[in-house]
């Protein structure tokens, strides 16, 4: 690591703040290039980015709970009651 690299350095801090936008391809091309250039010379930042990328993937993969079948029926019945004309 050189003086301008590593956690705590200004260059790394600037990069650190934009990593999610970088992963989401929400940054302008010139900033992406700057980040990639930085990563090429800064192993800790590169490793951190990879760990964040894996974290995002794990979050996206959390189990999707399914609605109980009887709830589907309950929702339909609640909607039908709403539409039914009021009793005199």
């Amino acid at each position: 690591m050189t003086h301008s690299h590593g956690p705590g350095s200004i260059a790394c801090r600037e990069i650190f703040e934009r990593l999610s936008e970088y992963l989401d391809a929400e940054l302008p091309p010139d900033l992406c290039e700057r980040i990639e250039l930085h990563m090429a010379g800064c192993a800790p930042c590169e490793e951190f980015l990879e760990s964040l990328r894996r974290t995002v993937r794990l979050v996206a993969e959390v189990d999707a709970p399914t609605m109980p079948a009887e709830l589907h029926e309950a929702v339909k019945q609640a909607y039908a009651r709403l539409l039914a004309p009021p009793h005199p």
Binding site: P7, E21, P44, F48, E61, V62, L82
Partner: protein, 202 residues
């Protein structure tokens, strides 16, 4: 792409008062809203109420929605409000902010903490993946609600930044800021585990 077309077709059917369209609407979005409600509120009973309130309220108002692309933003806006109402009625949960300073890796050793790769796990990583997934669920559950909701909408429900901003009526810059900190907090949790109670973890 296919979702946009299908949403447009569904919206057409809803607007023309097709009697089967509510059932189709519940089938398409019920599980998603239930999962969102469960992760946001933490209780099955609350998730049930969120599903019921959201699907009925959103379905009724969709009849006047002209832009199919806005369907998901609108749906999650209604669901988010239903969750927030539940929280207000529930037990007190202190507001907590995540600061970027405390989420920065403390040193090079921390920066290289290895998160298991679920896409192509090594044999060792495969063994610990189940444990890691449990930690991820716990990390999400303990995020401050304002950050949790953004993470759920962006990374699990896969809404765009623009859609989340519309759903939560917040600026896109706020969505990006909260998303980044929420992801960093989940990563921090994987490395260090739960925060001490004194730090305000709920």
């Amino acid at each position: 792409m296919s979702r946009a077309v299908s949403d447009a077709e569904l919206l057409d059917r809803i607007r023309s008062d097709d009697p089967a369209s509510f059932d189709e609407f519940v089938r398409r979005y019920g599980d998603r809203i239930y999962g969102f409600g469960l992760r946001m509120c933490g209780e099955r009973e609350d998730a049930r109420d969120v599903v019921q309130e959201t699907l009925i309220k959103a379905f009724e108002s969709l009849k006047t929605l002209h832009e199919p692309r806005a369907l998901r933003s609108w749906l999650y806006r209604v669901a988010s409000n239903a969750c927030l109402m539940k929280r207000r009625k529930g037990k007190f949960e202190p507001k907590r902010e995540l600061s970027l300073e405390e989420l920065m890796p403390a040193g090079p050793e921390s920066a290289v903490f290895e998160v298991p790769d679920s896409a192509s796990p090594s044999p060792e990583a495969r063994a610990e993946l189940g444990e890691t997934r449990a930690k991820v669920r716990e990390a999400i559950r303990t995020l401050p609600p304002g950050y949790r909701i953004v993470l759920l909408l962006r990374d699990i429900e896969q809404l765009t930044t623009h859609e989340v901003a519309e759903a939560l009526a917040l600026p896109e810059t706020t969505i990006k800021m909260r998303l980044h900190r929420a992801r960093l907090e989940v990563r921090r949790y994987l490395e260090h585990g739960p925060r001490a109670a004194a730090e305000g973890a709920s």
